[in-house]
């Protein structure tokens, strides 16, 4: 059986390696996302009912409902949410991913990413910026207004610029960003810079006012994490192609909803294995401390699933101070990840490790055997909705996810 599993894993990882995530369009959720409905609200992480949602996610849901005109204010939104008339589903069930609360509603603009090798697509909303934003649970007028600007001005311009430019090879852009100090999850500055550089000429040539274009460029420039919403769907369409390989123990989904952390394993199809979301260990912005922290939340851990993010920690010296202080610590975490993965990435390479490919293809069996849990670099949200990011650091999935998955995997494939 071991040989069969190894073979299946090689197949799964080979698909990951051959992925060609390509940005092909900017659309709106209702039109692009398969199975989307007007009364459907997508959220990050494994399935979760309204009652169990954490503060920031509830806030984001409220904001989403106000944006769509489903409710006028918080009270109405909460009542409607609890009524059963709203369908809450994981982004992951609709080929999508969303950072932090990850809430996506019908009219929100989304990036459309296509895995050119296999034809499958993935979607993600555009990043609003930092501080009081929807994904941290804020739903004030300011937030709604910004979301509307993004839908009315930002997204259509980007769409036209993209049409002008032609599809953008995200794999190559991510590979370059990794060599410039990014890791694609918690550090996206280089990626954001590369993206602006790529799209700016086409934005400038659009038939729009200079003020409008300037505002768009300033918006992107002012948000170091703008690229996150591109790296995430790139990773999503990459690993989706490796899902449902019979006999494979490769982990193809990791995601959190602020209450639970969930994983899915290739050889076990769509089944979620969940456990309590952990608390991030890290550093806090002035005025904040661990007391203020929300549990781990968001689909951004799809980056680690695809072999970047925390798995490329050694590529991001800036992350270092969040994980213990020395460059050696960051390198050590990456070296540990090699022990729980099937392969080394063909394309994403780490300069400080002699351009060794990043650890790619998390193997459920190795995680349980070695006791090494995937290392995740992530931001920390305030536990109260609407305040924003309060810090950043390192977190691990709850080990029971992997233990439970092993039990089912052994039952299905064991001798």
């Amino acid at each position: 059986m071991k040989a069969k599993i190894e073979e299946a894993n090689q197949e799964a990882v080979s698909r990951i390696q051959r992925a060609k995530p390509t940005l092909i369009d900017v659309s709106i959720a209702g039109e692009a996302i398969p199975g989307m409905k007007r009364n459907m609200i997508l959220h990050a992480g494994p399935p979760e009912p309204w009652e169990r949602m954490c503060g920031p996610m509830k806030g984001a849901v409220i904001g989403g409902m106000i944006l769509e005109g489903l409710a006028k204010n918080r009270q109405e939104a909460e009542a409607l949410a609890a009524s059963g008339d709203i369908l809450f589903e994981p982004c992951h069930h609709h080929s999508s991913v969303g950072p932090m609360a990850g809430v996506a509603t019908w009219s929100m603009p989304v990036w459309v990413m296509e895995n050119r090798t296999f034809g499958n697509r993935a979607y993600c909303t555009l990043n609003e910026g930092l501080g009081k934003v929807l994904r941290y649970g804020a739903f004030s007028e300011e937030v709604i207004a910004r979301l509307r600007w993004m839908a009315e001005d930002l997204a259509p311009a980007l769409k036209k610029a993209l049409v002008r430019h032609g599809p953008i090879d995200m794999k190559s852009m991510i590979a370059q960003a990794l060599q410039m100090g990014d890791e694609g999850h918690n550090r996206n500055r280089a990626g954001t810079s590369l993206f602006i550089r790529e799209i700016a000429p086409d934005l400038v040539m659009l038939d729009e006012s200079r003020e409008k274009i300037a505002r768009i460029l300033a918006f992107i420039h002012g948000n170091d994490h703008f690229f996150l919403n591109l790296s995430m769907p790139s990773c999503k369409c990459t690993v989706d192609a490796a899902a449902s390989v019979e006999g494979s123990s490769v982990v193809t989904t990791m995601a959190r909803n602020g209450t639970e952390f969930g994983i899915r394993v290739s050889g076990l199809g769509d089944r979620w294995f969940t456990g309590p979301a952990g608390m991030v260990e890290g550093l806090y912005l002035p005025g904040f401390s661990a007391r203020d922290a929300a549990p781990d939340i968001g689909d951004s851990v799809i980056t680690e699933t695809a072999g970047i993010g925390g798995f490329a920690m050694a590529a991001a010296p800036a992350i270092v101070k969040f994980v213990g202080g020395s460059a050696r610590d960051a390198i050590r975490y990456t070296q540990q990840m090699y022990e729980i993965t099937v392969a080394e990435n063909d394309t994403y390479r780490i300069p400080t490790l002699d351009f060794r490919g990043t650890p790619t293809g998390i193997d459920l069996l190795k995680v349980v055997e070695t006791g090494i849990l995937p290392a995740i670099n992530t931001g920390i949200a305030h536990k109260e909705p609407g305040i924003g990011m309060v810090g950043a650091g390192l977190v691990h999935p709850p080990e029971n996810c992997f233990h439970d998955a092993l039990e089912v995997f052994a039952e299905k494939y064991g001798k």
Partner: protein, 59 residues
């Protein structure tokens, strides 16, 4: 009985992976043997149930 691989070993430099007591790796190093000490710990944290599940898939 095929001993070709053992004969090969006799004609090569020993390159050792040490799994267990660190002192064995230290001693090999003193003898200028190339050795990689492992940070071995019981698999699956020593959890018998998990180990038996892993063994079901070992075969």
């Amino acid at each position: 009985m095929n001993v070709k691989k053992i004969s090969e070993l006799f004609n090569k430099e020993l390159v050792v992976i040490n799994m267990g007591l660190d002192s064995f790796a230290d001693n090999l190093r003193k003898e200028e043997v190339k050795v990689l000490p492992m940070d071995w710990k019981p698999p699956a944290g020593g959890d018998k149930r998990l180990i038996s599940l892993l063994e079901k898939l070992d075969a």
